[in-house]
Symmetry: C2
Subunit: 438 residues, 2 copies
């Protein structure tokens, strides 16, 4: 039989890659907890309708759908927010507010694999479902993303949080002659622009906005480079919708992360359900896709059959993040290693004295292993101890039978000593390295 | 629009349930590391063929299958072992032996939801791919499962590891007149017996083994209750295949877990690919399905296009385990809580002094939150602090502007003190509770 391969666009996490993934996840979790979020999770599949209802065409076109025995149409989750909205809706009356939740979710999208985009990936999501004073929740959301990124060593010269507001952009577009029905088209155009070649974008714009004058106005609007310029550019009718953005930047400044943040009128996000503030985080050199994206989605819960409750959140995927951290030499992982490897000359001695020692060391929480081959030469066993990065080899020989003694070999410096088993076990109480107590 | 529900047989993990799940997973991970396993993970979907090839009819009939755009047939993973075998096969020449890996996998099976069986669940898997002296690896595998279960408080009176061997059973069945072609049928019958009503079993047995004499012999064989009885019952030709089982029990005794283990000739496991030792762990009262099951599968790697390498492993699902631990009152979870909740009288004071304090506390690794509503009464904010289980409320008032002082309220005993912000920050260096340093 031929070897069966993995499916293209998925990843196998061998122990080395898994250690990196665990390091990423641990950082996400720690940042979430520091910032007052609690963890939740949703099923890997949902009713298809949950996604076709509100996520927009891009997501709906990338679903891995399936049908169960009862003929029900299901889909593997392509994003987490719809499940969050469903879960919150179900308990809306009993959940204390604000709902401030995070998850680290496995997501799947049936798209063409390319740099920074896979068909299976992981995404850190934080969401705040709160009542009023949107700018505080918006700021805390952005702060949490930046908190994580700086905790792994990214500085303000590495990354930039580009912030805008769909509510403001809608007013601005309307002031320029666009009508409500065109807004979705413009958002989708702006979101795609940095991802496609300029000539393709021009063709797309000409097709979707046939009026050359309108296109001209859109381009002029796109060149607004700061909140100051925006205030100057925008007519009176739009000024009111700029104020929340100003407030947000003021709060971000007070929280100490101004240096990471900037206004960018071209940020709209691809998902259909955003209503207010939107943001994306990029590497400053703009070589990669966004590391993180999020925004306010005040109508999603109501759109899925719940009450009207404002919400804001972001998603940060592992794929682009890992590329960025690797480029910056910031990728770390807890190395896999063992505390003790038991080495034996004669398997009868091992069975008599060694197996109970394995039990005692593991009961104390030390990671402990031994050679399964029963008749390996001691040199081979020591090599195995070394390849598994054991701190100590515990060597059993004739003296273990005669006088209950073992030889303790420090694998780092090669030093060794003979010690009675009971003294050795007592001594380990003082060892402070990795312990996994029962 | 109507509320969309979750799919039957899946679970929503709200923060309380997620805390329990995290506690389970942490225990699995700690036990794995203590016992010298390293973590890996595989994709959530694979080519359908990976499962239809070797897992047996039961699994193949429960697949969630899907087709991608390229028309390729895929399936959500219903178990982890085929992916493990695929991954090991791919790097068989470069991986150091033994491969001693664990994973905590989300799995899906399209079966009818019932007590202890869901359509989406999590499973802890450990596998050892080693060369020889099978009994050591077999014993270490069983030991690891028991190690976890006793680490969460289950004692020998709570659980029993029932152990047998398919290799031995095959010899024994053949000595009783069964032919090779019938073995699969008998394994499947024995595996189903405890899960179906006696009359249904009798009907099934009569259909699948029409020879009444053979059925009689099978029943007699099933009543063998110990290794001692087995040695007496078995003809000479079978004795050699009993020896590895005897050795295994000897080793388990030396490892100190005899009290948890017993021979049970009726254990065969449902999966098709087991070849040697098989085991299942049950609650002693046998009220629930198996908590854990595993065994030796020496032909699986070769069957999936790899070399012939012996392997042993087990899976422990979260669903039955959680029911058992809940019944025994052993279920625990790390409670969600906050370190500090900032309370403010006037949002201008908060923006001026509070936001930077939030930043400072989080930078020190303390989980810190505040009310987003900007104009809440202080009593409401304190109630929120309490509902989020904050250790301390940090109260900002006019004195914060006048003299840079805050009031620190201990939420546990209600005591409070006035302290300068800089002294407070210095004091927190001595706090040893939950800290999530940057």
């Amino acid at each position: 039989m031929e070897k069966i391969q993995s499916v293209k666009g998925t990843r196998d996490f061998y122990p080395e890659e898994m250690a990196v993934r665990n390091w990423l996840f641990d950082g996400w979790q720690a940042a979430s907890l520091r910032n007052g979020f609690v963890e939740y999770d949703s099923p890997i599949f949902e009713y298809l309708q949950l996604y076709t209802a509100k996520s927009g065409d891009e997501i709906a076109g990338q679903l891995f759908s399936l049908t169960d025995r009862g003929g029900r149409e299901l889909a593997i989750r392509p994003e987490t927010t719809p499940s969050l909205a469903r879960m919150v809706n179900q308990r809306i009356n009993s959940l204390p507010r604000p709902v401030k939740w995070f998850s680290i979710s496995r997501l799947c999208r049936a798209e063409r694999p390319q740099k920074g985009r896979l068909r299976e990936f992981f995404q850190w999501n934080t969401d705040i479902i709160s009542d009023s004073a949107y700018e505080y929740a918006d700021a805390d959301c952005i702060y949490t993303a930046v908190d994580y990124l700086r905790s792994v060593g990214l500085i303000k010269d590495d990354i930039i949080v580009k912030i805008s507001s769909r509510a403001m952009l809608a007013e601005l577009l309307k002031s320029q002659g666009f009508v409500d029905e065109q807004l979705g088209t413009v958002y989708s155009l702006l979101d795609k622009q940095p991802k496609i070649p300029p000539d393709k974008f021009t063709a797309m714009a000409e097709e979707q906005i046939p009026d050359a004058d309108l296109r001209e106005r859109l381009m002029r609007l796109q060149s607004v480079g700061s909140i100051g310029e925006l205030i100057e550019f925008a007519p009176e009718s739009v000024q009111k919708s700029i104020y929340p953005l100003e407030t947000l930047f003021h709060i971000l400044g007070k929280m100490g992360i101004s240096d990471y943040c900037g206004f960018d009128i071209n940020i709209v996000r691809g998902l259909a359900y955003y209503t207010g503030m939107v943001f994306e985080i990029f590497d400053r050199r703009s070589q990669l896709r966004a590391v993180c994206g999020g925004g306010r989605y005040d109508n999603l819960l109501a759109g899925l059959g719940g009450p009207s409750v404002p919400a804001v959140g972001f998603g940060m995927g592992d794929v682009v993040l890992e590329i960025l951290l690797r480029e910056k030499n910031l990728l770390d992982s807890a190395k896999n290693h063992l505390d003790f490897f038991i080495v034996y000359d004669d398997y009868k001695i091992f069975e008599d004295k060694g197996l109970s020692l394995v039990n005692s060391l593991r009961e104390k929480g030390f990671s402990t292993a031994f050679d399964y081959r029963r008749t390996s030469a001691m040199a081979r066993q020591l090599k195995m101890a070394s390849s598994q990065a054991a701190r100590f080899a515990v060597i059993l020989g004739q003296e273990t039978i005669d006088s209950d003694e073992i030889t303790l070999k420090n694998m780092a410096d090669g030093s060794q000593k003979r010690i009675a088993i009971k003294d050795f076990l007592k001594e380990t109480d003082k060892y402070e390295f990795q312990r996994r107590p029962l």
